[in-house]
Symmetry: D2
Subunit: 434 residues, 4 copies
């Protein structure tokens, strides 16, 4: 996570200030619940809320931690400085540090998820808009990088929409995975704390109580969370790769928007490089690289070890900040992508009708020519186009074996682009349900 690839709202979730604020809320809500249960005096619970509007002093907490080498104790010590050490003496009672740390981490991940979900919705809106705009913009479809049959730019956007819509669903599922909290004590037995404290705190924070925790919330949840982010990142790479291909000099069917003051290269001023989508390709690698460490975090020893912590202190912020930035950047790229329909048509006609060979093959078969013969006829004429620059339709019309099977009009009809776009509306109605 570096400032270059970060946005402030997501960064704020991971600030020490936010973290201590969440810790505070957990402790304060826990005191409320304990007071309600008669475990601690009401007055002490209420006293904790005195710090409600306090900006906790991160430097001071760090200072205390340098001595105690324990972050939660450092925070509690500092909290007592605000609340009064006598009033604060029931804070954290019966709890263990991880009750605070893990619940806080999940609150942060939930908030991060909410941003990512909003990001995704913005991206979906952009993709839908461009899909509708270019629903009928014909371009050549390519398999293996080789021209296949015509399709439309709208279908390209529509399939990215469908993919990202699945990713929206995955993000929502991922949010659900980690939207739990635990206040269950040192090994999760609630020996020193009533389960109702956990219930109250979770409810206040918008979490579900973890049905069974040890000292920690189980890490399969987080593994699933980061795995979902890895899938989303891979889909970002997918769109980025398409755009990079479209912008390459020989294709040039689209370009990333290029602002006036921007210099493409210190040496070659004519160059407009797809640097944003290349950048997104790299960011996808980064997010994906965090999936395996998150999975390696699952097998903690017994009721917990702390090996997951250093991993999560990094990938928690890094994965969410990077993905937030990437989704936002991609949305901008999609919204402003400059599309060249004329070039699309030029490219489509580059091989003089060859892309219609599938239709001709089919027509021949339907006209009673055997599969093998039809294949041979099409291949024979196609090779003349490929090797000698001939025009496919012209060659077919001049081939007596072909014309014996298909009339002139029928051959002409096979080169009609409308044939290929006739189901676009059907597909759109499948993808865009409302």
């Amino acid at each position: 996570m570096i400032p270059r690839y970060s946005r402030p709202e997501m960064v704020a979730i991971w600030s020490p200030e936010t973290k201590f604020r969440i810790w505070y809320e957990i402790e304060a809500h826990a005191c409320d619940a304990m007071a309600d249960l008669g475990v601690i005096p009401k007055a002490n619970a209420e006293a904790v809320w005195k710090a409600k509007d306090v900006e906790f002093d991160v430097a001071r907490i760090d200072e205390i931690e340098a001595v105690t080498k324990h972050d939660v104790i450092a925070f509690l010590t500092h909290l007592a400085e605000h609340v009064g050490s006598d009033e604060a003496r029931f804070v954290h009672q019966g709890m263990t540090s991880s009750d605070v740390l893990d619940t806080c981490f999940n609150v942060q991940l939930v908030r991060a998820s909410d941003i990512l979900i909003a990001d995704m919705k913005a991206l979906l809106a952009a993709l839908k808009k461009r899909a509708i705009e270019h629903k009928d913009t014909v371009r050549i479809g390519r398999s293996h990088g080789i021209h296949a049959e015509p399709t439309t730019m709208g279908l390209t956007f529509a399939r990215f929409y469908a993919e990202m819509d699945r990713n929206l669903n995955r993000l929502e599922k991922a949010r659900y995975e980690i939207a739990t909290g635990a206040i269950s004590g040192a090994v999760g037995t609630f020996a020193n704390i009533d389960p109702r404290v956990e219930e109250h705190v979770c409810k206040q924070l918008g979490l579900e109580p973890e049905p069974i925790s040890t000292q920690v919330i189980p890490r399969d949840r987080h593994a699933a969370f980061f795995a979902a982010l890895g899938v989303v990142a891979s889909s970002i790479e997918n769109i980025a790769t398409e755009i990079r291909h479209m912008q390459r000099t020989e294709v040039l069917e689209a370009e990333e928007f290029f602002s006036k003051g921007q210099k493409g290269s210190s040496a070659m001023p004519h160059k407009r490089n797809p640097v944003l989508t290349e950048n997104l390709t790299g960011l996808a690698r980064l997010v994906r690289g965090m999936v395996i460490p998150a999975m390696e975090n699952v097998a903690l020893w017994h009721e917990r070890d702390i090996s997951h912590s250093s991993v999560e202190r990094n990938i928690g912020p890094d994965a969410t900040i990077t993905l937030d930035f990437a989704l936002s950047r991609l949305t901008g790229v999609v919204e402003k992508l400059v599309i060249y329909p004329e070039t699309m048509l030029e490219n489509l006609h580059k091989f003089r009708g060859l892309v219609m060979s599938q239709r001709v093959l089919l027509a021949l078969t339907q006209a009673g020519v055997s599969r093998e013969d039809a294949y041979r006829l099409v291949q024979h004429n196609a090779m003349k186009v490929w090797e000698q620059g001939a025009d496919f339709k012209t060659e077919l019309l001049a081939d007596p074996e072909v014309t014996a099977a298909l009339g002139t009009e029928e051959i002409e009809e096979k080169f009609d682009l409308g044939y290929h776009t006739k189901q676009v509306d059907t597909i759109f109605s499948r993808v865009f349900k409302d």
Copy 2:
């Protein structure tokens, strides 16, 4: 995937025979739909079903492929040998190879998912049984590998149950991810084939039509599928790691079942090694290693390239076969795990009451001692136990500062194990809902 770590039912899904059988069904159902639509003659569609009970000759298909270098054409050629080349001439009409390959692959993944889901349910049953059996078997809970507070073996099984129950849900979601088929032609436009053919074929095969495909079914689905398998594998490692720890000589709270004829080592006959769970740990690494390749498969070029294919030809079978084997092996380990409650109690008492220090700390605070003083008192007496082999309770009873705050009876009460297990039923009712 090697025989040593494979089970026949899952292996069968990935045999060439199964693959050709599914290809055949796709083609035959497609012919039916085309005949219904009046695109091809009914007689030809019916003729295809002549091969209904044919065992396709894999060697013969390979032979043809050696010439054509194209597997689907080889299959279709072979099919025509059974059906008659004239009758077969409408088979595959308007379709592209990937319509068959991708739909088949998803059928295989769905069937594999069904086995994995059944495996998971068997594992859940085993975990639940052992959880109930050992609900009240007290053992020490450990954080950082260090004794913390008492818990029960039942809670350990219960948390694995809860984790695997989440994994069951993930597997069901994963199955849903890849339960789609596509018969949409060369670039997914349905130019040469009616979308209703796709609908019919998918319905017959228990799939949903892919809302929008290119030449292929989008690979974010498969990435999500394999990612889910990676999470499950990590949870398997989690349970395996717990058992390996329990079986280590110094702990010995459990052992993998050891059959009579089995030799643990060629040199040390007394050794009973947790080789099954160690093996599971390795298998988890293998499955996890397939997640990133699956994610790298998402960004195919334009309407498709075939780079995903070599990856999937390997990880399709490898991940599902390995995970099936691992789940089954783990179920056996759990079912037959030999548990030593006496050793659990011995271990729990290893440090003469130190594990009760949290309770004493809390009691002192509640009795009005300041947090810092309570901490100091507990730490002071604890160190005597740790360093001099003293008994914690005895020390506390002899410490006037402590007895000034807590009565003898109260101190005694702090060492009652029942205190730690009082919420086990509550937790069980959260985990085992029915």
Copy 3:
């Protein structure tokens, strides 16, 4: 590892027959050394060699293992069936299974390395041949997929040569990493076996004695080995990606060789798809996916656990067989790659001289124009080419600000291709040292 992507010589290394043959040699050589040291009778050592030409019966060994559940004991039992149980009674004395298994695994990896090294040398020869052949074949260099400045196809091959030459070095280093053997007993103390036995066996098998082993050879060696394979695989992907780009319809500067009988697609006979290099891209992902599992194998518990074994039983064969196949396939692709120099020139001129803008910019600066002004002048004229299809040289010659700084002849000279190839020999002499 599947037959489709395997070559027999490498597969043979991983057959049970080869494995048992190596086990046998380890045991027999160990007996020789023990006899020389007077630890066992000479006659017994000699007797073991009676099995020298025996084809061990894999099915029989499997049968025994089904009972003993221990592979080395099963083998030893079978060996005794050949040698005589009395004569064989000193075989394996003082040794532990891993002495045999680990030393054998490394012998296999060394042999696999030898094949990979030979593969790499064949690839290097092919790359060098094509580099020399196309040393002066001018093509456009591209950064970000956008035309930059001219380069030559020979330089492209030369840089792949240099990259693969580094990979040759990495493979040799990787071979060195795992070319050790260990016969050090149950925990590596040589308590029951003399270190000279290890020395003798290793010498006979072409290995170095592992300086310090536990029960196993340390797995950092294998992690480094598989990491090297991952780097090689990534370089294969690099070359494959270049060729895939060159073959795409709009670029078409090269094509994979296309044999006569081969059908590109069941539906589009004109298509010649770069399926071999797409396949190589996928194979690279597979090999790369094995790196992390190999690294996770390093942290075995204490003197060893067996979690690494299931991983290595898979990735040992899979990674080496896949990489052998990939290197061989790539060599064939490079040797037979069809290159189109005319298309290269056409592509180079696609933007009517724009790629020379860097030279013009430099010339203007050298002629005393400020950097900012030079940039502006070049950018201004370049945009006319880009947007209006003008010719860059013509525009420059017509721009009084430009001609004020540069003479006509000088402008003409800036469009000379020879300028860009003048250092090709220098670079070749750096890359091809002999």
Copy 4:
């Protein structure tokens, strides 16, 4: 990379100040070489050195970049503010941004390597010191977590030394991999710049000229670099795992040093958790997670795309800073590790002689008992120890079948610990060569 896991010296390498300083040196040395070649005026080259002692203003450069959206141009603009725009007009002539960026990145990686190499040497010194100190401290060796045969703590340290010594070698090789620079222009043809400029700059910066570059230095080098770091990280995890096992309550053969003020847990004051080595386990996962992204960076498009950049901006600092921190932390852990030889002996005797079963087995075989019988005898008596708490030696002495083969004295001798440590000096002489 977060402050908590960072050390200032390594962090400084990755500061913007350091980066701009290196950029400056590259440009200034390049000017020198160009002046020597007569390409630019000597006076201009000399003028650049006016900025020799300037602290570049990072904020100002960022400000310019915000407009130009190009970092190198921003820097050059700022440099001209110091040197004078007229004097600076030949700076960067004929170069491309990547000449600066890539050469700088490699300078940073080389410096980072130097720190890592120094770290590793410090770790080696610590390991060697502790190895010698505990050369004869007997402890039980464990395979599968189960007691096997005696070894010594010195051997444990010695094997970590040997492993880290290999890692030192790998780091040196990794440094060599990336110790190259390139000043070869837009596509690596040296069209606009003389190769001797590259040679001069590289020599001044302690790099080798890259034999053939495109616009960038080939990324297989960096992949190999980060892969090496991944192996080192895995070895760190290996040592960390050993220590975590040693410190677990039931084993307690060692503890991380525990300073006076440190609180182990907010709730359980008696706990001394191996948090440093658990932390190292997590850090290893992080570094390992960067290997695949680095490998994915190898296959750039044509002469380059910029997808690698966002990856490297993160993993360049993150991997080196994390590994530096981890190596340093591990060195501290090793140096100060508190070792408990008495507990080691207690643990060794936990199963009353069972660990000597291998010796007894061997002795029986040597005394003429068949392998099967010897196995049976040892197993029989061992089971009594295991199940009934008997003493192994006592049982053997009471077993007439055993005493028929072995005399009392011989049986006694089999339980001598010296037997197991007799080769320690031999092994030490292999590991510690000087």
